[in-house]
């Protein structure tokens, strides 16, 4: 598929607030990206006209109950057919921050046995508690399954900011190890929190900023086409967004966030 033919749908609803910078990141790389209110999508558009679906960050419907749950239920009531087809065809879906929470609540992630009708995991209140906005280091641990990161070498340490109050990935306690084994066996772990030298955080704050199980920051589904992460790649796109650019003699034009957007675009342009 040609670069300029790729159409990305950045989906928003009341409370979504990272749509414009996410759209900008895709546009920067030469594809068409459009922010669409879900009302608009239901009434006048067709989700299947798009090759990539993105749920950006924010507080969908205010997140007054568990983050992401209202929008996820709402989507499964009104748009489940289209989403089902989208997933069955292996089209890529990205969830950033609140988007990740939505994918988990919808049952699209981790999706150990395919799309689940109930959430298999949760992204719950940070430990230590409270909203945190800070830059973190992530180790790329995926071995090539995830379509959004397979241009990134395994073991590479990347840097992005987080900004959330509920980002601690948890599985049911009794199934924790079993589920982790499945994640690892199916190459579904994508990013883990680490320090700047790439040492895995091992649950320790602040390298692991939210107490996430197994230091997980991002996972993909079994097929690698659905990817969710808590950090914000769209805020780590350009040199001037980096936290220490004023210290550098020479800056690369782009930050690590670009790798994610570039990976998925490269994968799509390779496909005929």
């Amino acid at each position: 598929m040609k670069l300029e033919e790729i159409k990305v749908c950045v989906m928003r609803v009341g409370g979504t607030n990272c749509d414009s910078e996410t759209q900008r990141a895709f546009q920067e790389l030469g594809v068409q990206a459009e922010t669409l209110h879900v009302n608009e999508l239901i009434k006048r558009r067709n989700l299947l006209d798009y090759q990539v679906l993105v749920f950006p960050g924010g507080f969908s419907f205010g997140d007054y109950v568990r983050s992401g749950v209202i929008f996820a239920r709402w989507l499964s009531a009104k748009l489940d057919k289209e989403i089902e087809t989208f997933v069955d065809e292996g089209r890529p879906i990205l969830g950033i921050c609140n988007g990740f929470q939505i994918l988990v609540e919808y049952g699209l992630l981790p999706g150990l046995e395919g799309v689940s009708t109930y959430p298999e995991a949760t992204l719950t209140t940070n430990e230590p508690q409270g909203f945190k906005c800070q830059w973190v280091y992530l180790k790329h641990e995926n071995k090539g399954k995830c379509a959004f990161t397979n241009k990134i070498p395994a073991g590479k340490v990347v840097r992005m900011p987080i900004a959330h109050g509920e980002g601690r990935l948890l599985f049911p306690k009794e199934k924790e190890q079993e589920m982790l084994a499945k994640l690892n066996n199916n190459d579904m772990v994508v990013f883990r929190y680490c320090d700047k030298n790439g040492n895995i955080a091992d649950g320790k704050y602040p390298a692991n900023p939210n107490g996430s199980f197994y230091d997980i920051a991002g996972i993909c589904n079994r097929d690698g086409n659905i990817f969710g992460l808590m950090p914000h790649p769209e805020r780590a796109m350009y040199w001037w967004q980096q936290p220490d650019w004023t210290r550098q003699q020479q800056m690369l034009q782009y930050g690590d966030g670009k790798l994610i957007f570039q990976s998925i675009i490269d994968n799509l342009t390779k496909k005929c």
Binding site: G14, G15, N17, C18, S20, E21, R24, H37, N39, E40, G57, G58, F59, F61, G62, D63, G130, F131, K132, C133, Q134, P161, A163, H232, E234, R235, M237, W240, Q241, P243, D244, W245, T246, R247
Partner: protein, 793 residues
């Protein structure tokens, strides 16, 4: 309720006619109290005269409308009124000082100042920047979370009210000491710790949920804020100037959009202009509104689309006074009258009396005027965003305000009467207080003193709060409030608002309440200097200012006297720096059982960085570089953090030499533009020593400095040189290879090389007699600075 004064009209809901015609003075006061109008006798009498002419009694709706319109909060009686001082009369503080400075500077880049909800300056590519800062002190005292959150929501709507898209928030807060003794708290005053937790949580909840980065601010602790918490909320917006539409005409529909109307926020403005008492909580809890940031986010989306399609003829927010000010001021601005059917206003629940509907301050509501032919499209846009919008009336040619409630006429007043309140006359006196300079010996161990200062609440790291604010959402924050790995305190934030422009926006602030205890004039001068130099430090120039006063009761002559002094300084130094005021706001009557608030002037500065590549951060960059101090140091420690630590106030308050400072600032800007400055940090609370320590531990490199090289007058004590808070000073880092060029540029300015950056992670300072007076590791300095407000036990 006195049945002779209040006559229930034959309606199924509460609607009263008030027997004003024959009321005695005492009864006029009784009426004002009974309806919680907060109107003075003079005002009540002028209302009485008007309705005698109309030959009828007013309804409660009319009286409430008048009192809201004439309130201090809505009309700024003190700033617009007359003041007698020393036998002279000042006709409007606002015109005489604040607006006058702007008028005389008259820069071509000011697009709209003091006119609307926010000031607007030109930016780039046809865009303008709108800025507004508000106070939300009283509500935050009664309900910290809700008060602060709705403060943020309110100022964001001010920005929407000039058709601008909010791109950043700022928040400057004043609290009592967090370790305040519980037993000393009077009834009705909440503990500073509780207020601090609630207010900061409220701010983060609103800004984060709406997706607007909170990029700049300050937290200040002072005893007088214990009873009078001070909450300044600011917002900055971006708008295409050709979409700034203000041309409402008669017959245009009045559209109310956003949240529903309820009883939250009744009499907020009256409450704002009264002193806090033990009973404030009980009486005024309903004056605090309930926040719903997601509603406002949706309203914002719709409003921006309506703006871009040029479908409406004006907009304004509903803030203090609710519909009564929004409708009235819109009609007044466009020289129209208005007719409104209050029965159409969507309610949260039934049972509101018509006057409640009209003055409720329920949040997340905007008012638009829409030409009839565009009404359908406007409604469709609101519907698409799931926002309720209702046409509730229209503008009229006849200059009257006519309100109906389910077809019953409840108000019908002349607009000219409504918008011409009698001018107040207040008396001010200048207090002559004498302050003395303390005498105490220079401490033996100044390293220890520096550590204590770094831990002082006003200097200590605010990271634990700043990280709960999303300062990166929208992805345009290029200089962040916290610098780099060690989270050093940057002097200002820089945004890159436009995708196709490298121009940046520098946002900074200045506030020195402790100086005001000695002299409000020099406090104001210092706040201006600090806001401006913070902006200069990161590479800002072409600076516009906002003034926000938090003062005590202006009916008390000495409080008003210090307000006049501060306003005089605003004029003098805005002129000296050529930095016009573009907007401002005052919050008076900040008094509690613990006494008045210490006079507090917040100055917000908005500058331009021509190319963000030249933005300068405050962290040291490389060992071997040279460190210069720019500006002159005096023994000015009155009101300083150092004296405070020692238990003194002192007398030698820092002054500002305007013309000289302006030249210094220009030279620093030039050096930044030439790329000669590697890092730059302003000297403020804690003086040179604190600034040097911050630069060092933020950059991870040491410093070796020599106090003997610091230029200044009569500098004889190491502690005074280290901790003096003289204004208009910077520390700048310059590389060896740029040394000559930099020194040539600074020729004729006060600037001296005082040391160099070292690889050794230590701050080493030689005293005036070459002996080492400070010797501390960066890790220790950093720990002292971070521990106070870390939130960890």
């Amino acid at each position: 309720m006195n049945d002779n004064l209040f006559i229930h009209r034959k309606t199924s809901y509460a609607l009263y006619e008030v027997a004003l015609a024959k009321a005695t003075n005492q009864q006029l006061v009784e009426i004002s109290n009974e309806l919680a109008l907060g109107s003075s006798l003079q005002e009540m009498k002028s209302i009485q005269t008007y309705f005698k002419k109309e030959d009828r009694n007013p309804t409660d709706v009319e009286l409430q409308t008048i009192s809201q319109t004439w309130s201090e909060h809505c009309y700024h009686k003190t700033f617009k009124g007359r003041i007698r001082l020393d036998g002279k009369e000042i006709d409007s503080l606002f015109k005489t000082y604040i607006a006058k400075a702007t008028k005389e500077i008259n820069p071509p880049w000011c697009f709209s100042v003091f006119e609307d909800n926010a000031g607007i300056v030109r930016f780039d590519k046809g865009y303008g920047i709108a800025v507004k800062v508000e106070t939300h002190n009283h509500p935050s005292a009664v309900e910290p979370f809700g008060g602060a959150a709705t403060g943020v929501g309110g100022v964001i709507r001010d920005i929407l009210g000039v058709w601008a898209d909010p791109i950043a928030c700022t928040d400057v807060l004043g609290f009592g000491p967090l370790d305040y003794d519980y037993n000393k708290l009077p009834a009705g005053v909440k503990h500073p710790k509780y207020v601090y937790m609630g207010v900061t949580a409220g701010i983060s909840a609103y800004g984060n949920n709406m997706g607007i980065p909170t990029v700049n601010g300050a937290i200040y602790f002072d005893d007088s804020y214990t009873g009078n918490v001070t909450v300044y909320c600011g917002c900055i917006g971006l708008l295409p100037l050709n979409k700034f539409i203000k041309n409402a005409k008669p017959e245009h529909a009045i559209v109310l959009a956003g949240g529903k109307t309820g009883r939250d926020g009744i009499h907020g403005v009256t409450f704002a202009s009264a002193e806090l008492t033990e009973k404030s909580e009980e009486i005024s809890r309903p004056a605090v509104q309930i926040a719903d940031p997601i509603e406002e986010e949706k309203v914002k989306r719709a409003l921006i689309e309506i703006r871009d399609l040029l479908l409406a003829s004006s907009t304004t927010d509903l803030g203090g006074g609710g519909l009564s000010s929004a409708v009235g001021e819109t009609a007044e601005k466009f020289d129209c009258g208005a007719t409104v059917e209050l029965g159409k206003v969507p309610l949260k629940y039934q049972g509101l009396a018509p006057w409640e509907v009209y003055i409720s301050e329920s949040q997340e509501r905007m008012l638009l005027t829409v030409p009839p032919e565009n009404l359908e499209r406007v409604m469709a846009i609101f519907e698409k965003e799931d926002v309720e919008a209702t046409a509730i009336g229209k503008l009229t040619t006849e200059r009257r305000l006519q309100l109906n409630f389910h077809d019953e006429k409840v108000a019908d007043m002349d607009m000219t009467f409504l918008f011409n309140p009698c001018k107040s006359m207040k008396t001010a006196t200048l207090e002559t207080l004498s302050f003395t300079e303390p005498t105490f010996p220079e401490p033996e161990n100044l390293t220890e003193t520096l550590m204590q200062l770094l831990s002082a609440p006003n200097i200590a790291s605010k990271e634990s709060v700043i990280r709960t604010y999303d300062h990166e959402v929208k992805g345009n924050t290029t200089l962040k409030p916290l610098q780099g790995e060690y989270a050093g305190p940057n002097d200002a934030a820089v945004l890159k608002p436009l995708d196709d422009s490298w121009k940046g926006l520098a946002i900074s602030c200045g506030m020195n309440p402790n100086y005001g205890k000695i002299d409000a004039y020099w406090m104001a001068a210092s706040a201006i200097d600090e806001a401006v130099r913070n902006n200069i430090a990161v590479g800002g120039r072409r600076i516009a200012l906002l003034d926000n006063f938090t003062w005590g009761n202006p009916e008390k002559p000495e409080r008003l006297g210090s307000l006049v002094r501060a306003c005089q300084a605003c004029y003098d130094f805005a002129k000296a720096f050529r930095t016009p005021f573009i907007s401002g706001k005052d919050s008076l009557y900040n008094e509690s059982p613990l006494g008045p608030v210490t006079p507090t002037l917040l100055i917000t500065a908005i500058g331009i960085v021509p190319n963000i590549q030249f933005t300068t951060s405050m962290d040291l960059k490389a060992p071997g570089n040279l460190l210069y101090v720019v500006g002159e140091t005096f023994n000015e420690l009155g009101g300083s953090e150092y004296y405070k630590l020692k238990g003194y106030l002192g007398a030698s308050v820092p002054k500002v030499k305007g013309a000289k400072a302006k030249r210094t600032f220009k030279a620093v800007t030039k050096a930044i533009d030439l790329g000669l400055i590697k890092s730059c940090h302003d000297l403020s609370e804690g003086g040179l020593a604190v600034a040097a320590a911050e630069m060092a531990f933020a950059g991870g490199y040491g410093l070796e400095l020599d106090l003997g090289k610091v230029p200044g007058k009569a500098l004889e004590r190491n502690d005074f040189v280290l901790f003096s808070e003289s204004n208009s000073r910077f520390l700048v880092e310059v590389s060896e290879k740029d040394r000559q060029e930099f020194e040539a540029l600074m020729k004729g300015k006060t600037c001296s090389k005082i040391g160099k950056v070292t690889k050794d992670e230590k701050l080493l300072i030689h005293g005036l007699n070459r002996k080492i007076v400070v010797d501390a590791s960066l890790a220790e300095l950093r720990r002292s600075w971070k521990k106070t407000l870390s939130g960890e036990p």
